[in-house]
Each structure stands twice: as C-alpha cells, then as structure tokens.
C-alpha cells in the first residue's frame, strides 16, 4: 500500500483527535503496528497535540485534585470490600469437596467433547474451503465458456455473410511500402449491397494516439470509410458502405482518423478486380 498517501490523508490526525469510528480506529492501529513510518507519524502527532494541550489551558484547581483523590480512595475501598465478599465465596466452595470428583469428571467430559467439536469444526471448515474453491473454479469455467460461445457465434455470422454474398476479396499488403512490409489485411467488398468488411491477418499494434484508417479510392479521390482494429484478428470488421471504388488503401492517422489520408504513412494498397 501507499504509506505516504495514507499518512497524508489526514486520518492519523483524526485518530489522535478521537474523531474516527471504531472500525477506522482499528484500521489505523493495525497499520501502525505493521508500518513503522505510520507509527512514528502517530507518535509525532500525539506529541504535538499533548504539547499544545499542555500549553493551551490552565491547570485544574487544587480543590478538584483533592476531590479526585478522595473519590479514587472511595472507589478503592469499594473494590476491596467486593474482594472480601469474593474470598468468602471461595471458602464455601472448599466446603463442598465431595462434589469435586463430579466436577473433575464433568470437566474431562467437557474437554473430550471440545476436542471432538474442534476436530469436526476443522473438518467442516476444510470441506467448506474446498467447496468454495470448486464453486470459484466453476464460475471461472462458466465465464470462459461464455467467451467461447460469443466467439463461435461471431465466427458463424462471419462465415454466413461471406458465403451468402458475392464478395470480392481485395488483399491489401504492405510489401511494396516501407511503413509496414509485413502488413496483411483482406478487404471484402460486395458491390451489389455496397457492404465492406475487413479481416486482419497481420497488422502491428499502434500507440494510443494513432489509428489505422481504411480508404476507398474512387473517382472523387480517397474517402475514409472506417478505422481498423489491428488486435481483432480472424473476424470481420464492418466498414462504411462503398458503391464505387477502384482500390482500397490503409494509412496510419492520428487517433480517430483524418479527413484525407497521410500518404507518408501509407501501409498498403489493394486494387479492386
């Protein structure tokens, strides 16, 4: 944990001022026992407050001091009397000695019962522990299963889309460009429905400030039709619709894409047909 930020949270001051709840107090005491820096800080705060308290008021009067010690002595006498009562009782127990054997037998029975109780309690907690571990395993597996199911459903949709339509496959590769020679992306285009999908075979990951952008290059020049997620491989990423184009190109653009492509960062180009 971050000890410095705990110290500077102001909690220790509130502790010394008696301002924390029981639960927070326990936390401070526990952490002070564990971390010398916290303990030392507590000591300094207490010292400062004690010094301040000592200087910020007058002493109580002699009268109150005398009264306090009178009360204290009364209290002691009272406690002593109670002590006497108690010793009377203990002597009466001695007089009932015949019961001693029963008491011992009962104690032994109690001890044996306790041993069994502890043994079974341990077994119980042991079994419960293993049961909880299994429940957790099961939860993890269920989650993984869900993830697989989603993947399979996506793959099915992908397959169906490609099989049902009349998509032309337009490979966009980086070989003839310097930016990323091993870049390999396939653009799937169905002219009749204007649908465009991209599947990434290989694209290097980018920093947080940049994106891959797909362009359709038609008679009117390049039009940005979507951003490509390089990490999402073996699935189809849907782009914006294109009715006419001569080629697809991929460039690296600032985060969110640009209005027109930065040709210095041209990753790949794929002519249609």
């Amino acid at each position: 944990m971050d000890i410095q930020s705990y110290i500077s949270s102001g909690k220790l001051e509130l502790f010394v001022l008696g301002e924390l709840s029981e639960r927070e107090r326990e936390e401070v005491i526990r952490l002070a026992a564990k971390y010398p820096a916290i303990n030392e800080e507590l000591r300094l705060i207490e010292e400062a407050i004690l010094a301040f308290d000592n200087k910020s008021g007058a002493s109580p009067s002699e009268a109150v001091k005398n009264k306090i010690f009178e009360s204290w002595e009364d209290e002691q006498r009272h406690v002593l009397r109670q002590g006497d009562d108690f010793s009377d009782k203990s002597s009466s127990i001695v007089a009932l000695q015949p019961w001693k054997n029963f008491a011992i037998a009962a104690s032994i029975a109690a001890i044996i019962a306790s041993v069994f109780a502890i043994y079974y309690a341990n077994r119980y907690f042991d079994v419960e522990g293993r049961y909880m571990a299994l429940v957790q395993d099961q939860a993890v597996m269920a989650e993984e299963l869900d993830a697989f199911r989603v993947n399979i459903e996506q793959a099915e949709v992908t397959l169906e889309t490609l099989l049902a339509g009349e998509f032309s496959k337009v490979p966009v590769r980086g070989e003839s460009f310097e930016v990323q020679t091993d870049a390999n992306v396939v653009v799937w285009w169905e002219q009749s429905s204007a649908q465009v999908y991209v599947s990434v075979e290989n694209l290097s990951p980018l920093g947080d400030d940049r994106d891959y952008q797909l362009w359709a290059i038609g008679d009117d020049g390049p039009i940005g039709i979507g951003l490509i997620n390089p990490g999402q491989r073996l699935s189809l990423q849907q782009m914006q619709e294109v009715t006419e184009t001569g080629a697809f190109a991929i460039t690296i653009e600032p985060k969110g894409g640009s209005e027109s492509p930065n040709l210095e960062q041209l990753v790949g180009l794929g002519p249609v047909g």
Binding site: R25, N54, A58, E75
Partner: protein
C-alpha cells in the same frame, strides 16, 4: 517513569502511579475539557468524572487502543462533548447551544482568546484563516469533522487535509510552545 511501568502501576491501582498520572497529564487533559466547556466549575466537574473514569477503565486499556495520552484525551473530549450536548448544560444556558456557537463564529473575541499561553497564541496566528477556523471548530468547540463538513458545506476531504495542515504547523513549531 516509562509509559509501560505507569500503565502497569495504574492497573494495579497503585496510588503513586495515579498521582504521577495526575501530575503529568492533568493540565493537558483539563485543557481538552475546558476549551470545549467555558464554565470553569462545570469543566472541573467533568474533569473529575473523566479522570475517575480513566482510573477505572485503565484495566481494560492496552496498547492496541492507541497510546495512553490519546486514549485518555478521547475519554475527556467525549465527556466534555456529552456534557455540552446534555439538557442540564443547555439549561444553564451560558453561551452554548450548538447554533449559538455556530453563528457566533464571526466574533473575533471567540474561543481562541481563551487560550492562555502566549506562545500558543502566536502559534495560532501561523495558521491561515481556513486552518484556524477548523482548529477553532474541532479543537475548541468540540465539533466532529463530519459536523463541520455538513454545517459549513466544506467537503470532508478538505476538512481532513486542513486539519492535517494545521497540525503540521503545530508540529513544526513545537519547540516554540
């Protein structure tokens, strides 16, 4: 006397230990009470009860409850606050319904002037206005930090950091008081 020795003596209800405790801490503990309770007679009465309570409760005290002085100061502070909020006290009707205290805050002749030590007064002038306000509310008037936060609409985190800043000033200037 080491604190451990003192605590052992107190638990054994050893008179010398109780006297030592009184001599060493009575002034500070009384200050804790009397800065919250202005009336000296009532403050002494509360101090009497709180001190006796300390000698009784010390049996159950151990270091896991914090250091001795902090533990005692909290008992005194709580006793003073209980008294301040009790019916009996408000009927005596000195200055002290909570609201009067709150709305009397702008008054410069307020509680800070009850402080005796000249060094302490100087020290308090080292605090900026916000810190002094908080010290006044919490230290001298017995507000809890969450009450200050609610009544004056200061976020709790801000209250905490200002208290810490104020106590830091006290720590740095310890040798002067």
């Amino acid at each position: 006397m080491e604190e451990e020795q003192l605590i052992a003596g107190l638990k054994a209800q050893n008179r010398q230990s109780v006297e030592y405790l009184y001599d060493k801490y009575s002034r500070a503990l009384f200050a804790v009470i009397s800065r919250i309770i202005a009336d000296r007679d009532i403050a002494e009465e509360v101090f009497h009860d709180a001190f006796i309570k300390i000698t009784k409760k010390v049996d159950g005290y151990d270091e896991s409850k914090g250091r001795l002085y902090t533990w005692m100061a909290i008992i005194c502070r709580n006793a003073a606050i209980d008294k301040l909020k009790s019916k009996e006290y408000s009927q005596k009707g000195k200055t002290n319904s909570i609201d009067e205290i709150v709305y009397g805050l702008g008054d410069d002749s307020g509680t800070l002037d009850r402080v005796n030590g000249i060094g302490v007064k100087e020290l308090l002038t080292e605090l900026n206005e916000e810190q002094r306000f908080l010290v006044d509310c919490i230290y001298f008037k017995g507000y809890t930090h969450s009450e200050v936060s609610e009544q004056f609409a200061i976020p709790l985190g801000t209250v905490k950091s200002r208290i810490r800043a104020a106590i830091n000033v006290l720590k740095k200037n310890l040798d002067r008081i």
